[in-house]
C-alpha cells in the first residue's frame, strides 16, 4: 500500500480582490509532497509562494480546490479547527524568527504545547529536551532579546518541532542570518531531514533551494518546470 502524501493540493486557486483588480495569487496548482521529503518551494517575489505557504500552513483557505494536510481535508473547516490543525500538524519557522519577546526561550518552546492542552510538567520536560537537541541547553532561561540570530532561529525550530508535527514549514529561515549561521541552520534542517522529518522550505534563493533534494518552482501563481529565475 502506498502511503498518502502528507501534503496534497488539487487544483488550488487563491484569488484576492485588491481594489477593483482580481489578483490571482495561485491559479490552479496541484502538488503532492510525500512524507519524509525535503522540498524547496522556490520563486521570485510575487510568484505566489507565500500564498502557497499560507495555504499549506492552514493560515488561509483557498478560493477553490482541495487541500489535505496529514490526510485531513481542510475545506470547510472553521477557524478553531484550522487552529487545532496548525497546532498538531504544522511547525512554522519564520524569517523573522517570530519568538514571543516577553517570555524566555523555554516558555516560547512550551507555548504550542499549552495550546495542545499538555500538562505543565510534560511541557517543561519536552521543551528542555528539544532545546537541548538544537544545542541551546544553557540558554533556556534567556529572553529572545538576549540571544543571537542563529540562537533565535534554533529556538524557533525547537518550538516548531515540539508538538511532533507532520510538516516543518520554513519560510526563508536563513534570510535574516549571516551566511555562516545561515549554513549552520541549513545543516540543522539537513539533520532533521535525515531523521525523517517532512520539510517544506520556501525561498527565493536559488542556491539554497538547490541544497534541497527536491524543488518546486512557482511563477505567476502556477507551478513551472525548469529554472524560473533565469527568465526574470
Amino acid at each position: 500500500m502506498i502511503e498518502k502524501p502528507v501534503i496534497q493540493l488539487i487544483d488550488v486557486r487563491r484569488y484576492y480582490l485588491v481594489g477593483e483588480y482580481l489578483v490571482k495569487a495561485l491559479d490552479g496548482v496541484s502538488l503532492s509532497i510525500p512524507r519524509g521529503s525535503f522540498t524547496a518551494i522556490m520563486g521570485p517575489s510575487g510568484s505566489g509562494k507565500s500564498t502557497m505557504m499560507n495555504l499549506i500552513g492552514c493560515l488561509d483557505t483557498p478560493t477553490s480546490g482541495y487541500i489535505t494536510i496529514g490526510g485531513e481535508m481542510t475545506n470547510g473547516m472553521n477557524e478553531a479547527e484550522l487552529a487545532y490543525l496548525r497546532n498538531e500538524k504544522i511547525g512554522f519557522v519564520f524569517q523573522q524568527f517570530n519568538l514571543l519577546g516577553k517570555i524566555n526561550a523555554l516558555e516560547n518552546v512550551m507555548t504550542p504545547m499549552t495550546y495542545a492542552g499538555i500538562p505543565h510538567k510534560e511541557r517543561r520536560e519536552r521543551a528542555e529536551e528539544m532545546l537541548e537537541k538544537v544545542g541551546l541547553k544553557d540558554r533556556m532561561k534567556h529572553l529572545p532579546s538576549e540571544l543571537s540570530g542563529g540562537q533565535k532561529q534554533r529556538v524557533a525550530i525547537a518550538r516548531a518541532l515540539v508538538n511532533d508535527p507532520d510538516i516543518l514549514l520554513a519560510d526563508e529561515p536563513t534570510g535574516a542570518l549571516d551566511s555562516k549561521t545561515g549554513s549552520e541552520v541549513m545543516g540543522l534542517f539537513q539533520e532533521l531531514h535525515e531523521e525523517g522529518r517532512t520539510i517544506v522550505f520556501v525561498t527565493h534563493d536559488r542556491k539554497l533551494g538547490a541544497q534541497c533534494p527536491s524543488q518546486v518552482m512557482i511563477k505567476d501563481g502556477r507551478i513551472v518546470e525548469g529554472d524560473v529565475f533565469g527568465e526574470s
Binding site: 499560507n54 500552513g57 493560515l59 488561509d60 477557524e79 478553531a80 487552529a83 487545532y84 496548525r86 497546532n87 498538531e88 512554522f92 519564520f94 517570530n98 519568538l99 514571543l100 519577546g101 516577553k102 517570555i103 507555548t111 504550542p112 499549552t114 495550546y115 495542545a116 492542552g117 505543565h120 518550538r159 508538538n163
Partner: protein, 390 residues
C-alpha cells in the same frame, strides 16, 4: 491555560507601569470613593445609633404642645398606673435665666428636673454629685452646672460648694452641688450651657409651672419602646385632645435615622459608581491599544495553534486582572481616606464589608464587560495580516 493567562496578564501589566497606573486611575478613584462613602456612611449610622442607645432607645417622650394644665408634675405618676411596661417617669421644665458669680455673668437654659432625670441620661457627672430626691421635696436651692457654664462662671475651677445667683425677676443664691462632663460633639445633645435645679425649687422659687416641658418615660426591660409608646398614646387620648401632646420614642428615631443614612449612603455610592463606569472605559481604551500593539504576538500565537477562543480569554483575563488590581488599590485608597476623615471628624470607623465585596465584584464585572470588545477584536484578527504587522 488559565495560569498562563494570569502570568501573561501580570507580565504585561508590569512592563508598562506608568501606563497601567494611568489607565487604572478611573477604577481606583471609582472604587475608592464607593468604599469611602460606604465606610463613612456605616460609621455615621453606627455612631448615631450608638449614641441613641446610650441616650436610651428604651425611652418614650411625651411633650405637651398646648396649654392643657393637666400636664403637671403629678401627672407623671399616672403613667405607671395606666400603662404596662414603664420603669420610671422623669420630667422637666425649662426657662432662660441669667446666672452670676461675682463679675461673671451668663445667660443659660435653666432646667427644673426631678432627681431621677439623670438616671436615664447619658451625661456623667464630672465633679460633685446630682441633687437628691430630698433636695427636690425640700425645694432646696441647689444647682448642677453644665461643663462650659461652670468654666465660665468659675474660671478658677472651684465651682462645687460655691454659690451662684440665678436671676429671674429677683436674684436667688444656689449652691453648686455638681458639674457635668463635657458633652460637646455628643449626638444626643450638648448640655454644656445648661443649669439643672430641682423641679419643685423651679416651681416655687423661679417660675411657677403650669405644664411641664416633657415627660421622659423609661421602658422596662423586656418591653418594646414602640409598643409602649402606642399604649401611652391611647392612655393620653382619654385625658387630653391629641393636639395637646406629642409622643415620640427614641426607637422610632433610631429606625428613621438608620433608614435615612442608609438611603443617603446608597445614593452617594450610586453616584460614585458612575465613576467606576468611566474607569471601565479607561480599561477598554488601554486594552484596545494593547491589542493593536500586540497584533504580531497575536499572529504568532495563532500560527502556533491558538484558537480565537484562546486569544479572547487571554485578553479577557488581562482586562479583568487589570481592573481587579485597580479595584484592590481603590479599596486600600478608600480605607485610608475613610480612616483619615473619620479620625479628623472624630467618628469611630466601621468598615463596610459589603462595600469591599461589592467593589471587587463590580471591578471584575467592569473588566469583563469593557474587556470583551477589545478581546473579541483580538480574537477576530486574521493570522496572516497579524503576522506581517510591523
Amino acid at each position: 491555560m488559565f495560569l498562563e493567562n494570569l502570568k501573561l496578564a501580570f507580565n504585561s501589566m508590569f512592563t508598562n507601569k506608568m501606563r497601567t497606573f494611568l489607565s487604572l486611575l478611573g477604577i481606583v478613584i471609582g472604587v475608592g470613593s464607593v468604599v469611602t462613602i460606604m465606610n463613612l456612611g456605616e460609621s455615621v449610622k453606627r455612631s448615631i445609633t450608638d449614641s441613641m442607645n446610650i441616650g436610651g432607645v428604651d425611652e418614650v417622650s411625651v411633650m405637651p404642645t398646648g396649654s392643657n394644665t393637666v400636664f403637671s408634675e403629678e401627672f407623671a405618676y399616672t403613667f405607671k398606673d395606666n400603662v404596662l411596661g414603664i420603669e420610671s417617669v422623669s420630667t422637666y421644665v425649662n426657662t432662660t435665666a441669667t446666672l452670676r458669680n461675682g463679675q461673671e455673668t451668663k445667660n443659660a437654659q435653666v432646667y427644673g428636673v426631678t432627681s431621677n432625670y439623670f438616671d436615664s441620661s447619658s451625661v456623667d457627672i464630672l465633679y460633685g454629685e446630682f441633687f437628691t430626691r430630698e433636695n427636690n421635696l425640700q425645694r432646696d436651692q441647689v444647682v448642677v452646672l453644665g461643663y462650659d457654664l461652670a468654666q465660665d462662671l468659675f474660671p478658677g475651677g472651684d465651682a462645687v460648694g460655691s454659690y451662684v445667683s440665678i436671676f429671674r425677676n429677683q436674684a436667688k443664691q444656689y449652691r453648686v452641688v455638681g458639674v457635668l462632663d463635657d458633652t460637646s460633639g455628643s449626638v444626643s445633645g450638648n448640655t454644656n450651657n445648661y443649669a439643672y435645679i430641682p423641679f419643685n425649687t423651679f416651681d416655687q422659687r423661679l417660675k411657677s409651672v403650669r405644664a411641664v416641658s416633657q415627660y421622659i418615660i423609661k421602658v422596662k426591660e423586656g418591653y418594646n419602646a414602640t409598643d409602649v409608646a402606642t399604649e401611652i398614646k391611647s392612655y393620653l387620648s382619654t385625658v387630653a385632645s391629641s393636639s395637646d401632646y406629642y409622643v415620640s420614642s427614641a426607637q422610632e428615631l433610631v429606625n428613621m435615622t438608620e433608614s435615612v443614612t442608609g438611603y443617603l449612603t446608597t445614593f452617594l455610592a450610586a453616584i460614585a459608581a458612575i465613576s467606576l463606569l468611566v474607569g471601565g472605559i479607561g480599561i477598554m481604551n488601554i486594552m484596545l491599544v494593547t491589542v493593536v500593539e500586540r497584533t504580531r504576538e497575536i499572529g504568532i500565537r495563532k500560527a502556533l495553534g491558538a484558537t480565537p477562543k484562546t486569544i479572547r480569554s487571554q485578553f479577557l483575563v488581562e482586562a479583568t486582572v487589570l481592573s481587579l488590581f485597580g479595584g484592590l488599590i481603590g479599596i486600600i485608597f478608600g480605607v485610608i481616606v475613610s480612616y483619615v476623615v473619620s479620625s479628623a471628624v472624630g467618628w469611630t470607623l466601621y468598615f463596610s464589608v459589603i462595600a469591599i465585596i461589592l467593589s471587587l465584584a463590580f471591578s471584575s464585572a467592569v473588566g469583563i464587560f469593557f474587556g470583551w470588545y477589545p478581546a473579541a477584536k483580538a480574537a477576530a484578527l486574521d493570522p496572516i495580516e497579524a503576522l506581517s504587522y510591523e
